[in-house]
């Protein structure tokens, strides 16, 4: 699960260092690359709140500024490989942080937001006690329905955001699209590590969200996405994590069987 660790003084110093780079627009490309590097180092230890703070340090016009600066300097609209890769990485980071935060919201709604069922009246209850209980039950049912509704909304948002990461357009999450002859080896290595570390975890989170909300057919369909040659997500899984995912999916399939439905949640006849 997405744990969030304490932001230390040293972390804060690194986050605040970005402030120095955003004063002058000419440095914005460098600011973006430094921010990306710091976010990578936070995300690898699951310090998502810290990564978000770094993200927030970059003004929202950063991409525009980089284009403008480059155009000003060279007269062309085509960015150098390192810049276009950095912009893509920044968008990947945003997609990831959005997904994690949405999942955390879902998690607390699911575990803490659920209304408590009133305890039944014991033994020979008085008339007023029974009336009070009925009233509480009525109240509880309304709250439960509201909670279910909110949970489903949050489930769908979280699902969409996780899919935004899993199916990140044009080559996948945290991959470069432009070949950069001057690319730094450590960056490539870190991005590779992050994919292997987080993509299987996100798939499992996606399963948890869908399964817990009773969306078993969608939970089973995760298999289609992971196995697909279009996205090759399975390449980021080791044996153990594929086994884990299969165990989870088979649980959803078993739930469908228990409900006397098709075990893969497909339509039966029409």
């Amino acid at each position: 699960l997405a744990s969030d660790l304490v932001i230390t003084e040293a972390d804060k110093a690194r986050i605040n260092a970005i402030d120095w780079l955003v004063f002058d627009e000419a440095h914005r490309s460098e600011a973006l690359k430094q921010a990306n590097a710091i976010m990578r180092s936070f995300i690898v230890v699951k310090k998502h709140a810290a990564a978000r703070q770094v993200f927030e340090k970059l003004p929202s016009d950063t991409i525009d500024v980089i284009y403008r600066q480059w155009h000003h300097k060279t007269g062309t609209g085509e960015l150098p490989p390192s810049d276009s890769n950095a912009i893509r990485e920044y968008l990947c980071m945003k997609a990831y942080l959005d997904a994690v935060e949405s999942f955390n919201d879902w998690f607390s709604l699911f575990h803490k937001g659920q209304p408590a069922k009133p305890s039944a009246v014991e033994g020979k209850a008085s008339f007023t006690d029974r009336v009070a209980f009925e009233h509480k039950m009525k109240q509880y049912n309304i709250e439960k329905e509201r909670w279910m509704h909110n949970l489903l909304t949050q489930t769908k948002t979280t699902r969409d955001r996780i899919y935004n990461v899993l199916l990140f357009a044009d080559g996948g999450w945290l991959t470069d699209t432009v070949e950069d002859p001057e690319a730094e080896e450590p960056r490539q290595h870190q991005m590779n590590q992050l994919r292997k570390l987080h993509l299987p975890g996100l798939c499992l989170n996606l399963h948890t969200v869908l399964h817990s909300s009773g969306l078993y057919p969608e939970a089973v369909q995760i298999a289609d996405v992971v196995a697909s040659e279009l996205h090759r997500l399975y390449q980021n899984f080791d044996k153990e994590s594929v086994q884990h995912l299969l165990a989870m999916i088979s649980k959803s399939s078993a739930c469908l069987l228990d409900e006397n439905k098709d075990p893969l949640g497909k339509l039966e006849g029409k």
Binding site: A223, A227, K266
Partner: protein, 237 residues
């Protein structure tokens, strides 16, 4: 218990059981079997194939066939993808529900890609039909590979009008905009031209082109076009 679960009706329970006991190779084979027998629902076949592939990837056993099996599954998934990519109006045109399709055979997919039901067909559809040829079972008696190939190219020709335009000073140039020659170009890029393009006399003798083949202007354009293809190929050699 494993033996009992092998029966056809309980195969579904079988893979759940195999995964529970950690036998991923067993689950892989059970799922592959189910996928093979699934002809009613495309999306179900897809998920069975996907699960079977994942089970093979999860397998720790020393089964040497697994890599080959994954290749076979990928081919099958490619076929599923081709069916999913059919335009929904084309699928509806033949009375099927795009969200609930049965599994179509490769030759049925080919037929749909180049049929009249695919109203906006272009060279990419013809190319897909040609790509699908490799999925066709050549041992199937009711099927003639060359006839099917000829059918695809004939349909490509019929997607354009071959009327003579009196204002056109360079008629051969107009070949460039024809679906047929655009497809030739795509196939050429893939390097499959010699294998896939029928000889001109064979093409002209296609029963579907019987009417068109009588027209001198069409004959002229085709001869010119084939000549250009030949000289391009020679230049490369």
């Amino acid at each position: 218990l494993s033996k009992f679960l092998d029966g056809d009706n309980v195969k579904y329970l079988s893979w759940l059981h195999e995964i529970k006991r950690g036998n991923y190779t067993g689950a892989h084979y059970a799922l592959a079997d189910l996928a093979k027998n699934e002809t009613n629902f495309l999306s179900k076949k897809k998920t069975l194939l996907s699960l079977s592939k994942l089970a093979a990837l999860a397998s720790e056993g020393s089964d040497d066939n697994l890599a080959d099996n994954i290749e076979v599954i990928n081919e099958e998934l490619d076929l599923v993808l081709h069916q999913e990519l059919l335009p929904s109006h084309t699928v509806e045109g033949v009375g099927m529900d795009p969200d609930n399709m049965r599994v179509l055979k490769p030759q049925e997919l080919i037929e749909l890609y180049v049929s009249d039901a695919n109203t906006d067909a272009n060279e990419l559809d013809v190319k897909k039909a040609l790509d699908l040829l490799r999925h066709v079972d050549r041992d199937d008696d009711g099927l003639d590979f060359d006839t099917l190939k000829l059918h695809i190219w004939s349909r490509a020709i019929l997607m354009d009008s071959w009327e003579e335009d009196p204002n056109d000073t360079d008629p051969l140039n107009s070949n460039r905009d024809k679906v047929f020659f655009k497809t030739v170009n795509l196939v050429y890029i893939d390097g499959d031209l010699e294998f896939l393009l029928p000889d001109l006399p064979v093409l002209m003798a296609s029963p579907e082109l019987a009417e068109l083949s009588k027209q001198p202007h069409f004959k002229f354009l085709m001869r010119g076009g084939y000549e250009q293809i030949r000289s391009t190929l020679e230049q490369v050699d």
